[in-house]
């Protein structure tokens, strides 16, 4: 289901006797947005899965990097179509950049398309060569996708592959 719908349902399902809770959340959200916007904008890709201790992969140079940043921002804002279009644009310039294919995998994951998440990770890995950080991120994402599809054994294998790639 759409992430936005999830959030909306969750916010609206708040207890009728506590109408201020929703408002409080909204205020906090607005505040955090304001604070986030005040921070100087760094050109680094933003890992979407915070619970993982992910290392930062340096952005590709030039327009490809700019588009990847835009894609990350769009994804954070829940605009998955838009994020996808940014990556497609970047792919036209740098079709063999494994980071872009990994980006597509992340978008597919957010869209709930786990089979394609795995396929895009495989594609990214096929182009990653010796780029260990990307390979690791791909296997970690595949692990998550396999957990979602209920293929625990493959998830475990993916995790092992991720640690092997250090």
């Amino acid at each position: 289901m759409d992430v936005k719908v999830h959030i909306r349902n969750w916010m609206l399902s708040g207890n009728q006797e506590q109408p201020c809770r929703l408002r409080l959340i909204m205020i906090l959200l607005v505040l955090s947005c304001v604070i986030a916007n005040c921070a100087p904008q760094k050109r680094v890709s933003i890992p979407i899965f915070r619970q993982e201790p992910q290392e930062q992969v340096p952005l590709p140079p030039g327009q490809t990097g700019t588009l990847l940043t835009s894609a990350n921002e769009a994804m954070q804002a829940g605009q998955l179509d838009k994020a996808e279009m940014h990556i497609e644009r970047a792919l036209r310039m740098s079709p063999q950049d494994p980071q872009l294919w990994h980006g597509m995998a992340r978008i597919r994951f957010e869209q709930g398309n786990y089979a394609q998440t795995i396929q895009f990770c495989l594609k990214s890995n096929s182009l990653a060569g010796k780029n260990g950080a990307i390979v690791r991120q791909n296997w970690l994402l595949m692990e998550k996708a396999y957990l979602k599809t209920g293929e625990e054994e493959k998830a475990i294998q993916s995790r092992e592959k991720a640690s092997e790639s250090y």
């Binding site: 990097g65 940014h86 792919l91 036209r92 079709p95 597509m104």
Partner: protein, 756 residues
């Protein structure tokens, strides 16, 4: 209910009345009858016109044909594009060369530099504002982009895409539909001042204007002035012919009154501005001010100067007569008259008037218009859309379809296909040769160009999509890939010697090599590089024809293929588009990527209604595809496609395969560079022999096309676990180090854990 008695009573009364009229003369009686009849007929007729007008007006007003765009051109430092190539692309996208390049849609070209003002455009990922940029070029490459003002460096920008076609029900008409708010006020005021001064106060007809015109025409003895309102003109354009009869005038007047009764003035004005015929561009009629502005000035309507606005207003009277390109003096004279009227009616002030009067006509030449220029590609777009949309939605919902067409590639493909066919016909004396080409992006499967035949603008039989022809040796990669899956290596010894395969219920099959000789024991890779039939059939029979058929399907070719041994030598018919899909899977390292022709569809209000996203599926292990692709590189470095080096040096390391069907009926070449994949077919529509092999025919076209496309060299990414060994082809010995004093030895890749 009226009782029968009451009815009878009424009838009697009427009968009495009619009797009492016996006193009048028959003339009067008939007169009254005729009058009553015509009143009834008149009202019936008006009612009929009313329904016609409402139906048509609603239909016309809401009918927005889908528009198809090419891919937008992305500009970024490092892009290989020369100034003339960029200029060509800008012209296709409707840009104009302008000294100074000050307004959107203009560019200025100087030594090594282009100044450019982009147009605002609603891309699927959001609105992109107009911007002023300076582009720097060196050695056929774009080396830097900066903002013209301030000089701030920019990572990249994109040009709004060319419109390449629309799905208008009347295909020869074209228009860009604008809303009332998109019509500039100057245009509206100028138009009303000249054409219909009392537009906002009359009710469809302007009696004073009619009388004035009548007087003027009588005085002059000929028609010098029209008294038609905009509403009447619109009615004429919409529903009526151009004949000058009283009956048409009568209809026009009634319909104008009806139109005014039903619709708001602004609705009528907007419909008028979108409908008015303003010129002819070859086979397409230019309707509406929006398109006329682009057609004559290469500017958006909102960016026109007062002088240009006045030119268009003046042309309403006679777009052919006042054609600014054909009759500039006549048109200029008319424009000055319009400017006079605009000043007299205070539409423009004195200063604007003076500036406008001294301005040149400033029309742009008709060049390189992309509209309906690429029917073969549009055909493909239409096919894809037909799966998701009804015909009605395409012709009326105002969809914006963003396709993957690359106009530069498409133009190269068209030119080279035609020119090479002409050259081949001249050199060989054959005639009636035709062909088809498909070019896609190597890693994403986006279709960049499609040629459906040598005569491009003749839409009709699209060979790229519809000609299903025997593929010959193009099938061989499927056999060798299947063999690699069964543990074969590039060095596995194979016998290229005669064999006979028993055929249940038929003649036994004895394939032969193209050169009718046997080559003895060879390393497997040579079987593919030199397209040896005997070795290939032996491998295929060993692997199993069923397995090969499955491999072909996994490569992305759908269909039922009976697993006969002759399948191994390409006794299977595919379209060039299907062949491209097959080789796409190889080109992208074993990942199946469905071909994409459309990326996004936007609704009329610019919201995304459909995405055709990328999808991937790994169908073959990377290592196997890597080995196969390096064999395909041997096809070009030493094998049947060696002559490709006449077009592109060997350092490009291109991978490809030639294909020739029985009796030289079909000539094929499929191959890929670092960034593009191309498939070329040559043959005759009547399936008669052409006298061409894959190498002497299709390869020539492929080479010409790719040479012109600045290809990237093909650097195959080596997967983990590949090791290289040296092979002596004469003894089939392998070694980790080069052999001393052995000629013709070759370095081949192996999957680490498979013994050679």
């Amino acid at each position: 209910m009226i009782s029968v008695a009451q009815q009878r009573n009424k009838v009697e009364k009427w009968a009495a009345r009619i009797k009492s009229m016996g006193g009048y003369s028959p003339f009067v009686k008939w007169g009254i009858g005729a009058f009553l009849f015509s009143v009834v007929a008149f009202f019936l007729y008006v009612g009929y016109l009313d329904s016609v007008i409402r139906q048509k007006f609603e239909g016309k007003r809401w009918s927005l044909p889908a528009v198809v765009y090419a891919r937008p051109l992305e500009l970024y430092p490092g892009l290989e594009i020369s100034i003339p190539e960029l200029e060509d692309e800008l012209q296709l996208a409707g840009y104009r060369r302008d000294t100074g390049a000050e307004d959107p849609g203009g560019y200025d070209r100087q030594e090594g530099v282009i100044h450019l003002v982009t147009r605002e455009f609603n891309f699927p990922d959001g609105l992109e504002k107009s911007g002023e940029y300076t582009l720097y070029f060196a050695n056929g490459t774009l080396v830097g982009i900066s903002r013209t003002e301030g000089g701030e460096k920019v990572d990249g920008l994109r040009i709004d895409p060319a419109r390449i076609g629309s799905f208008h029900p009347k295909q020869h008409e074209d228009r860009i539909i604008l809303s009332r708010s998109e019509l500039p006020e100057l245009l509206v005021k100028g138009l009303l001042a000249v054409e219909d001064h009392n537009f906002f106060s009359h009710s469809g007809l302007d009696l004073r204007a009619i009388l004035r015109a009548l007087l003027a025409n009588t005085m002059a003895g000929e028609t010098v002035q029209g008294g038609s309102t905009l509403t009447q003109q619109l009615v004429k354009n919409f529903f009526l012919t151009n004949e000058r009869t009283i009956w048409r005038k009568f209809n026009e007047a009634i319909m104008a009154l009806l139109l005014e009764a039903h619709y708001d003035k602004n609705e009528i004005l907007t419909a008028y501005a979108n409908e008015i015929f303003l010129g002819q561009d070859g086979g397409r009629a230019v309707h509406g001010f929006g398109l006329a502005s682009l057609f004559y000035f290469r500017r958006d309507l909102k960016d026109l100067s007062p002088a240009q606005t006045a030119t268009l207003v003046g042309m309403v009277q006679g777009p052919s007569y006042y054609n600014p390109r054909k009759y500039p003096e006549r048109c200029l004279k008319r424009r000055q008259v319009v400017l006079d009227v605009m000043r007299n009616q205070k539409v423009i002030d004195e200063l604007t008037y003076k500036v406008a009067m001294s301005a040149p006509l400033d029309t742009q030449a008709v060049t390189g218009n992309a509209f309906n220029r690429f029917p073969a590609f549009l055909d493909l777009v239409r096919r894809q859309l037909a799966e998701d949309y009804r015909e009605e939605a395409l012709t009326s919902d105002g969809l914006k379809i963003f396709s993957t067409l690359d106009p530069q590639v498409q133009k190269v493909v068209e030119q080279k296909l035609e020119a090479t066919i002409v050259r081949l016909e001249e050199n060989t004396g054959i005639s009636g040769l035709d062909g088809a080409v498909v070019v896609t992006r190597r890693e994403s499967g986006e279709v960049l160009a499609v040629a459906g035949g040598r005569t491009i603008l003749q839409s009709g039989f699209n060979r790229a999509l519809a000609a299903r022809r025997q593929v010959g040796s193009l099938i061989k990669p499927a056999i060798y890939l299947a063999a690699l899956g069964k543990g074969y290596t590039l060095a596995t010894p194979v016998d290229d010697t005669a064999l006979t395969i028993p055929n249940l219920g038929g003649e036994p099959w004895s394939p032969v090599n193209f050169d009718r000789t046997e080559h003895g024991r060879i390393p497997m890779y040579r079987g593919l590089a030199y397209s040896m039939n005997l070795a290939t059939v032996r491998i295929g029979m060993d692997v199993g024809v069923e397995v090969v058929v499955r491999t072909l399907k996994d490569l992305g070719v759908n269909g039922d293929f009976p697993a006969y041994p002759s399948f191994l030598l390409g006794a299977v018919s595919l379209t060039p588009l299907e062949v491209a899909q097959m080789y796409q899977t190889l080109a992208s390292g074993g990942f199946y990527l469905p071909q994409r022709v459309i990326s996004t569809v936007l609704a009329a209000d610019n919201t995304v209604v459909k995405r055709f996203g990328i999808s991937v599926e790994q169908r073959f292990p990377s290592e196997q595809v890597y080995l196969l692709n390096s064999m395909l590189q041997h096809v070009i470095s030493e094998g049947t496609a060696k002559s490709l080096s006449r077009f592109l040096p060997r350092s490009y390391k291109i991978a490809g395969k030639t294909g020739t069907s029985d009796d030289l009926r079909d000539s094929w070449f499929a191959g890929f560079t670092g960034d593009q994949l191309g498939v070329v077919w040559l043959g005759k529509d009547d399936n008669k022999p052409t006298g061409l092999t894959g190498a002497s025919g299709a390869l020539e076209v492929w080479g010409e096309i790719m040479r012109a496309l600045h290809p990237q060299p093909l650097d195959l990414l080596e997967p983990e676990g590949i090791k290289w060994q040296w092979l002596r082809p004469d003894t089939l010995e392998l070694s980790s180090f080069p052999f001393l004093f052995a000629s013709g030895q070759v370095k081949l890749p192996f999957i680490a854990n498979t013994p050679p």
